[in-house]
């Protein structure tokens, strides 16, 4: 049984099972409203796949994924607004612009009239922004806390910018009231199911991409950069390139998720892209297990589901709960739920009374390889056992 679940065949089987659940069972079982909610959660899960790669595998604590999510979302929203305006309004000018602005469509909106340009831009704009930022930041070896704070400042500035440009971005109201999606009526229940299906397929594709990246030589290099950046540099690789590539991949995933979020949920506003939502993306990833493939997805969906069921009935309780999740999971279980089996196994193997290893997530030596990937980046792992013998100072 165990060997069946490992290796290439196990992965393929798991992938097919996931596809069957998402594409077959869920639409058949869930009522339309819940299916729409699940679609929204899947958007967060797509963002989480990217964060899992960048943060869990690459050690880059990116607190600005809301920016890329927002770029994708606003590009899609702009296209849908323009399309609605020419389909239903006749004037070709989105409703809120005549309310707050000059009644003219600004020049930088015009390209997004075209569906093809919009679809390209959803991928390219977040990707290019991440490429420029990534090169600027990583090439200069800005890392760790500096990178986290810069990415957070980016999210803050982005939200402030959107709120300030009321006439062209809808300000703090954001963009909403969409009626059609590439010509499909958004009120039609069949089209809603189609939107959900698209989100599910994109999630499956991004999981496949992440899996390939993790198991490639490039994925090994990424983990190496996370654990010992200096040593990777001495081996002749450029860590900045590795980090930039993964940062771009994560940004594109977030952008695509944002573009799917808009037709599914029907609104995008600065409240969905600022500092707090950007950090909130991380908690699901942390709970599920930041360095695993499926952990971030399951964690993100779980947290989003808990939020939507709890926050409306007990809004105050939900915030406390969310805060506690951050404190307990990150503080006491950095490997997330994915590290639980390893933790339990360790407990069982260590005789009572024997001293517990300090890093409780360190696996026993004879353990099969997949488990260590669930560890927190800072705990020593089997692949880098000689780390203790090579203190940080030696490398400079």
């Amino acid at each position: 049984m165990k060997t069946l679940l490992r290796g290439r065949w196990g992965t393929a089987a798991g992938f097919l099972l996931g596809a069957a659940l998402l594409l077959g069972v869920a639409p058949a079982v869930l009522p339309a409203f819940n299916l729409g909610l699940l679609g929204k959660f899947l958007c967060f899960a797509i963002v989480a796949v990217g964060i899992g790669l960048a943060w869990g595998r690459g050690g880059m604590l990116t607190l600005g994924q809301g920016v890329f999510f927002g770029l994708g979302a606003y590009i899609m929203a702009m296209h849908m607004k323009l399309a609605d305006a020419s389909l239903f309004g006749g004037s070709g000018v989105p409703d809120f612009m005549s309310l707050y602005g000059s009644g003219q469509v600004p020049g930088w909106w015009e390209p997004f009239r075209s569906p093809a340009v919009t679809l390209l831009a959803v991928v390219l704009v977040p990707g290019l922004v991440a490429l420029v930022l990534g090169l600027a930041i990583f090439k200069r070896r800005v890392k760790g806390a500096y990178f986290a704070i810069l990415s957070q400042a980016l999210a803050a500035a982005f939200a402030v910018f959107l709120i300030g440009q009321q006439a062209t971005t809808g300000g703090s109201n954001g963009l909403n009231g969409f009626r059609s999606f590439f010509g499909f009526d958004l009120k039609d229940p069949n089209n809603k199911v189609m939107l959900y299906m698209i989100a599910a397929v994109v999630l499956l594709l991004s999981l496949a991409l992440a899996r390939q990246l993790m198991h490639s030589r490039f994925g090994e290099l990424l983990v190496a950069v996370r654990d010992q950046e200096e040593r990777v540099r001495f081996l002749g690789y450029d860590p900045a390139t590795v980090k930039t590539v993964i940062y771009v991949v994560a940004a594109v995933l977030a952008g695509v998720a944002g573009a799917l979020f808009v037709p599914l949920v029907g609104i995008i506003s600065p409240a969905d892209v600022g500092v707090i939502p950007s950090i909130a993306f991380l908690i699901g990833v942390a709970i599920g297990g930041r360095a695993t493939l499926l952990g971030p997805v399951l964690g993100a969906v779980g947290v989003a589901a808990a939020q939507s069921s709890l926050s409306s009935t007990f809004p105050s309780f939900w915030v406390y709960f969310q805060g506690l999740l951050f404190v307990l999971v990150i503080g006491f279980m950095p490997g997330g739920l994915a590290s639980l089996p390893a933790l339990v196994r360790l407990r069982r193997r260590t005789p009572a009374g024997a001293p517990q290893p300090k890093a409780a997530t360190a696996p026993a030596p004879d353990q099969s390889p997949p488990a260590p990937e669930a560890l927190s980046p800072e705990t020593p792992k089997p692949g880098v056992q000689d780390r203790a013998a090579a203190p940080e100072e030696v490398s400079r």
């Binding site: 050690g59 604590l61 607190l63 930022l133 600027a136 930041i137 200069r140 070896r141 800005v142 760790g144 806390a145 500096y146 986290a148 704070i149 810069l150 957070q152 400042a153 980016l154 803050a156 500035a157 982005f158 402030v160 910018f161 959107l162 709120i163 300030g164 440009q165 500092v275 707090i276 950090i279 991380l282 908690i283 942390a286 105050s316 915030v319 406390y320 969310q322 805060g323 506690l324 999740l325 951050f326 404190v327 990150i330 503080g331 950095p334 927190s376 800072e378 940080e392 100072e393 400079r396």
Partner: protein, 294 residues
């Protein structure tokens, strides 16, 4: 001319608020590597302390003078508890402290909402701080002048503490080389606790100060935390003089940008300036030359 002086002063004033917010961070983030996202909420706690004190002492002048040490104490105790309960276990995982303290920040915000209500409250400024004085024709609000003064006093106190007392010498020793300090008989535990107490206490004082120029809401901290971190990053890790220069530079730049464009574009321009600046000096204005720091 009046306009120039007015703008310059607006920048200095903004810079002094940033400095107050960033001084404590510079201690805890710069010197201990802990990224405390709850620092903004400690400010918020200081601001609510000023509000509560004013409910008890109705004279605005006396209540302000009581609030400043009270705010320091409230912020400091919160910081001490946070350090003792959570952060102590996490010094080897600096990035994770950011997320843990973000959780603490969420909890503190919600607690403030439940205790004081979501609408913002106001703290009255004392009579002797109302009005303006004229400086070469430009009106300067007295409250802002007071905050500038308070920031300078806090700065002087902190520098004095770090450079001229045995306690400060121990803190600096731990910053420069933790292991060596410990081997030499310095209790790093106590030094960590004290650093955190002082840093968080300064956040409380900053909170009291900002009640003079705006109303107090549970979200007060989120407005300042990102800017305060940028000050520390631009100034250089563990560098108080860097933080001072960065705070005033960012304050002046922001008010110039906001004056010549709009508030929102000014914010974006400021961020671009910082990213470009870090291209030139990735370690900030000043960097600590030591073998033990990454």
């Amino acid at each position: 001319m009046e306009l120039l002086i007015g703008q310059m002063f607006a920048g200095l004033s903004l810079g002094s608020v940033l400095l107050l917010a960033a001084l404590g961070l510079s201690l805890t983030f710069g010197q201990m590597g802990v990224i405390n996202m709850a620092h903004g909420e400690f400010m918020m706690a200081g601001a609510y302390t000023a509000f509560v004190v004013q409910q008890v002492i109705s004279d605005a002048g006396a209540s302000l003078l009581v609030s400043i040490p009270a705010g320091f104490l409230v912020g400091g105790v919160l910081g001490l508890v946070l350090e003792a309960v959570l952060l102590r276990r996490m010094y080897h995982r600096p990035l994770d402290t950011l997320l843990v303290t973000f959780g603490v920040a969420l909890i503190l915000q919600q607690a403030a909402r439940d205790i004081f209500g979501a609408p913002s409250v106001d703290v009255r400024a004392p009579v002797w701080l109302q009005g303006n004085i004229e400086l070469l024709g430009a009106p300067i609000p007295l409250t802002r002048l007071f905050i500038l003064g308070l920031a300078l006093v806090c700065l002087a106190g902190l520098v004095l503490l770090l450079k001229a007392t045995p306690l400060g010498r121990r803190i600096r020793a731990v910053v420069l080389n933790r292991d060596l300090a410990e081997t030499s008989g310095v209790s790093t535990r106590r030094s960590d606790q004290l650093t955190f107490f002082i840093g968080s206490g300064l956040a409380g004082v900053a909170g009291v100060a900002v009640t003079l120029i705006g109303s107090t809401s549970p979200y007060l901290g989120t407005n300042y935390i990102v800017d305060a971190f940028l000050v520390v990053v631009a100034g250089g890790i563990g560098q108080i003089k860097g933080a001072v220069i960065a705070a005033f530079a960012l304050g002046v730049l922001q008010s110039v940008f906001e004056y010549s464009t709009t508030a929102s574009i000014g914010k974006v321009l400021l961020l671009i300036v910082i990213v470009v600046f870090l291209q030139l000096r990735p370690q900030g204005i000043f960097s600590l030359k030591t073998r033990s720091l990454a």
